[in-house]
Amino acid sequence: MNVSFAGCGFLGIYHVGVASCFKKYAPNLFVDKTAGASAGAIAACCLLCNSPLGQITSDVIRVASQARAKTLGPFNPTFNITKILRSGLEEILPENCHEIVNGKLHVSLTRVYDRRNVIISHFESKEDLIQALLCSAFIPFFSGYFPPKFRGVRYADGGFSDNLPVLDENTITVSPFCGESDICPQDSNVSLLQINLANTSIELSRENLYRMARILFPPEPEILSRMCQQGFDDALKFLQRNQLISCTRCLSVTSTFQLSQTVEETLRHDLECTDCKVQRQVALLDSLPETVTSILQEAIDSANKGLVNWVFRHRGSSLISVLALPYVLPRDIAHATFLRFCDAIPKLTGDFAQLALSLVKFIVAVIKKMNDKREQFSAKFSCQLAITEYREYDMPGAINFIRNKYNFDFTFDLNNGGLPHSQSEALSLNTQAAEDYLQHHYQPLHAIQEDGQGEKPLAESHHDDTFEQILEVTSHQDAVMAYYYLDSKNQVKVKEIFDVTDADTSAILAPEERVQNADLQFDSFIEGEKYESSCNWQLAGDPDEAYLDTFQMDASDFTKEMNVNERGSPSDHEASYMIFES
């Protein structure tokens, strides 16, 4: 005979009761096949492997109490049913379990991609078998988010397609729901209405409604125990009804004939045996085996005794636990996420590296895109000039050495102004605006030393210049430095700085100055270098790039040493830097 167990989540304890009854009174029934879905498949497998019922009972109760202990019950993120099941199965099933159950155990699975039912009955290894059982017990969102794979295909709970696989006409169906099954509870509240979900007939009664809710949310140990007892009683009733209970002597006889005889024949054989009759009478008064009841009783006691349990049974405490949900849940979720992450790390290293790489690529692409679209630049233009002036008096006896030093240091922050949008625009120049801009930002940091009469500020000498002077200088001289910048009106300004100290033109210098200047020694390198750099600026086609550079001139480049005529007044002989706007 074949037995099929219905999938039923935590109601699987009912199957334990049924199995213990079968083991006790009809051990000869199980030479043939078993089938099941979800918890039923596990029950069917354990039955074939002759797993210790006591251990299974304590496992079920342990898992149930674990699920009950947490907020949200089994839906608490830290409750990982698949993991618990795997470790439990690994422990309970013998190493050669796949050999025992091969061809006998039929596990009902639901293939995820087409939601069809698949029945698996051949297993290559213990791991293979456990994986099939876990697939069969996978309820989306309850067990996890992604269905597990079995031989490369994703499967979910067999209960979605065929919760009670029937192998042939003589299959004994076992279901913890009151309905049309061979072994099932008979509810006191019968109802004419039935539904048939995934091949499991379920009567629409109050008890069944309650049982349905208990598939995922396990009840108290007391009720679990009663369900187990119910399974035992129902199985016993079935055996009695079908005259399947026999004494040990008859059992041994029938088992030898099992191959050729049908069950019907062995039944008739049973009826005449007085020992069998006695056995049947004894069975009437029997209940669950000791191993199972003791564990159940222990669980009930531990759930009922003690002050803590008394407090937790109180209605107020359940209210508190509901109210505390918003505080407890995030912690649990974080905890669970962390645990799962830790679990997944070894599997994910390869993926993770790839993920990081693609993330970096993405960020780079985003930045590039932003740069293309929004041309916003931060540019600072700073220039430091240090001008040192030495004055020597040839008067005997008087060491009247005056040393002047001009240090200027100015900074343009181009962020203050807008930017040119095109090259041509950038080249249109506006002198006055640039002048304003420069003046505005021109900050002489310090004049390090002021000896003697001191110096006139540079800006003053600037004002003394006439337009003719400017024209003269610009037409004959090369700029020491030229630079472009942008003013507040989005126009590029070109500034050229001319070193007029050594300019040998009459426009600037008095004749005697020119004579003296001829004696001065300059480092020609400076001029050349600066000229070049201004050239570079113009050549650089993209104004953006140019602005991006922070142009900083080393002060030493501009430090010039001069010997100035002793007679010359400071104002006359200062090294003048003329700034022209063109």
Partner: protein, 331 residues
């Protein structure tokens, strides 16, 4: 009604014997309204004791389609839609349990008169079994053998035998649904009704799939249209019920008043939700009468469709032995 007719025709197309379907006028005994009862007759020419079949709750004559041929091979067979169900009229019944039951039984008697039948074998399934027993008590002379297939309404409601404390929310749902007719959900589904029936009772389709070509469409359609109209029979049934599923006046307490001469055969489905203990009780209560109890292995509540061969065989044996007067020897 037209939809029901076409659905029924599709179902009955599998019956090989010649079928005659007609409306029988039974007058206005119920609800002061002219009532008609849809009747199917087979093998009317036969002189044997006729068999009258009463269907169960929420179904109709069509569901007997797998049994007609076997029964009609030897004797005349009459099957009709009980008043308030299927294609028969749907008058409003009393809301009192006993009165409603009386009206139903009276309608069967009126039908018998209109049909001109004197004696017959009465077979009822589920609710039909309850009515058949009630009819046999009231009109014992007409019934030669009472065959009850998984009959409803025999056991008494046990006093508070709940296995566990039913939580409040379940009680609330049950209490809210209590006043509704049992099949309100199917009617509420409207045009989706057949789909709903197919969804919640795929087992019914499966039972018939071996002989009906496109049973996944025909069966839900038939069941839906049987119950989509005014639920007058359903209301009467609801009135006869005490709480979900129990009879207000269980037949087990009234079976004593059944004539001892009438033999009873009870055929249960081994998987059915129907409690089989009343069968044994009846047997104990009627030591001098013929009471035969059969359980068909692997069959559910719809015994006649789950294991049609076994069922037909058992019924035929019962009918034949009644006819030949050999019943008491087999007991």
């Amino acid at each position: 009604m037209a939809a029901l007719r076409s659905a029924e025709e599709k179902l009955l197309a599998v019956v090989k014997s010649r079928l005659r379907g007609r409306y029988i006028d039974i007058g206005n005994s119920v609800g002061n309204k002219k009532c008609k009862i849809w009747t199917l007759s087979l093998n009317e020419a036969s002189k044997c004791l006729p068999l009258v079949m009463l269907h169960g709750f929420a179904s109709g004559v069509g569901l007997w389609c797998m049994n007609f041929d076997a029964f009609a091979s030897t004797r005349p067979v009459h099957a009709f839609d009980i008043l308030g169900f299927g294609r028969s009229s749907r008058p409003s019944f009393s809301s009192d349990a006993l009165e409603a039951e009386g009206q139903m039984v009276q309608s069967i008697e009126d039908w018998r008169k209109a049909m001109g039948l004197e004696e017959f074998i009465l077979m009822g399934h589920s609710m039909g079994g309850f009515l058949a027993a009630s009819y046999a008590i009231r009109f014992p002379d007409r019934v030669k053998h009472l065959i009850l297939a998984d009959p409803w309404g025999f056991p008494e409601k046990p006093i508070n035998q709940e296995k566990f404390n039913i939580p409040t929310w379940v009680r609330v749902i049950a209490t809210v649904l209590q006043p509704f007719n049992p099949l309100w959900g199917v009617r509420a589904a409207g045009p989706l009704g057949p789909k709903l029936v197919a969804k919640i009772r795929p087992d019914l389709i499966k039972k018939f799939s071996s002989i009906i070509p496109n049973s996944d469409e025909v069966i839900p359609n038939y069941i839906y249209h049987c119950n989509a109209q005014t639920p007058s029979g359903e209301s009467a049934f609801h009135a006869m019920m005490a709480q979900f599923g129990w009879a207000k006046y269980p037949m087990i307490n009234r079976i004593d008043s059944l004539n001892k001469e009438i033999p009873i055969t009870l055929i249960y489905g081994s998987r059915s939700w129907v409690d089989q203990t009343p069968g044994n009780e009846i047997k104990a209560k009627r030591p001098d009468s013929y009471v035969e109890i059969q359980a068909i292995n692997g069959a559910g509540h719809h015994v006649y469709a789950d294991r049609p061969e076994n069922f037909n065989h058992l019924v035929n044996i019962a009918c034949d032995s009644t006819e030949h007067g050999s019943l008491f020897t087999t007991n």
